[in-house]
Symmetry: C2
């Protein structure tokens, strides 16, 4: 950030009075700009004993596999965001989403909220964001070609919990703040 | 938002190619600016059978009571944010925070993540943000003078679950998108 989005004057990075962190502050109108973590909403969609994965047609991690997920938008709930992203990336329609994982990823200032849902019909297709959309059994999941560590972690929990027949909400973090 | 924070040229509101929502887009350098929901981290802090509430010394809702809570910062986890906000607003030191409530509030694009914690010693004090900090039993809670509906809802769940001796994570929404 170089310029004030209210008046176009230059901003500087400083700790405002009464604050404890550096913020961008306008040198002319004094506007303070806060940057906060973003929420990513996603969904593990099942059909019978298989789950739906999307092969990424976009960066980052082009060509690797993921569950449908993306940035939560203003004025939607995290469940609505997960349902929307699932449709945008796979054309799958999901209902009755249940929150399954909350993952803090503080080194990139993200919180993943991952839901579970079941498709009544195996209807899905490639999209501009996904070159392939496919159902996988646990044994077929391309574990070495998953796009993000949080996806690997969530799917491990999913299959482990499914094997015992009961789902609990997973609260966890993927924290690489200490490693440069 | 009126001006590009990268180059100071005017921005316009438009739907970028491949997108489905209006964004602010720079008329000169083409930068696209996304605005997303914010996470608020808070904590219900107990000492014996009482809980800690803060009387707000700042707007909004100056003079009303709340649990310690505030915007999550970049590069912190939601539990760290809840612990930090608790200290900033009440000087209480909390440990072993457990996630208790996740409340979507889509009409104001916020997600509350409210934790539970217990103080080992009843050490707390007023702060620049809280004119009074006080322990209340369930019967003493100033229900009519709570600052935010989400605080009322979370505390109702807290006392109800405490009465049966077992806490489950509450997933809920306060949704006023339909009302003007």
């Amino acid at each position: 950030m170089k310029y004030c989005s209210n008046c176009a004057a230059p901003v500087i990075s400083m700790i405002p009075e009464g604050d404890h962190l550096h913020r961008f502050v306008c040198t002319s109108c004094g506007s303070i700009f806060y940057h906060n973590p973003k929420v990513i909403a996603g969904c593990i969609v099942s059909y019978n004993d298989q789950i739906l994965l999307c092969k990424r047609a976009i960066e980052p991690r082009h060509g690797l596999w993921t569950i449908p997920a993306g940035f939560l938008e203003n004025n939607e709930t995290s469940a609505e965001g997960a349902k929307r992203e699932t449709f945008e990336e796979s054309l799958a329609i999901t209902e009755d989403l249940e929150l399954f994982c909350v993952y803090n990823i503080p080194h990139i200032s993200q919180i993943y909220m991952i839901y579970r849902s079941h498709m009544h019909k195996p209807e899905f297709a490639p999209t501009p964001e996904s070159s392939e959309v496919t159902l996988f059994s646990e044994q077929e999941v391309p574990w070495e070609d998953l796009a993000f560590p949080v996806v690997t972690a969530a799917l491990r929990h999913y299959f482990k919990q499914r094997s015992v027949g009961h789902f609990n909400i997973v609260i966890d973090a993927i924290d690489k703040r200490g490693s440069a």
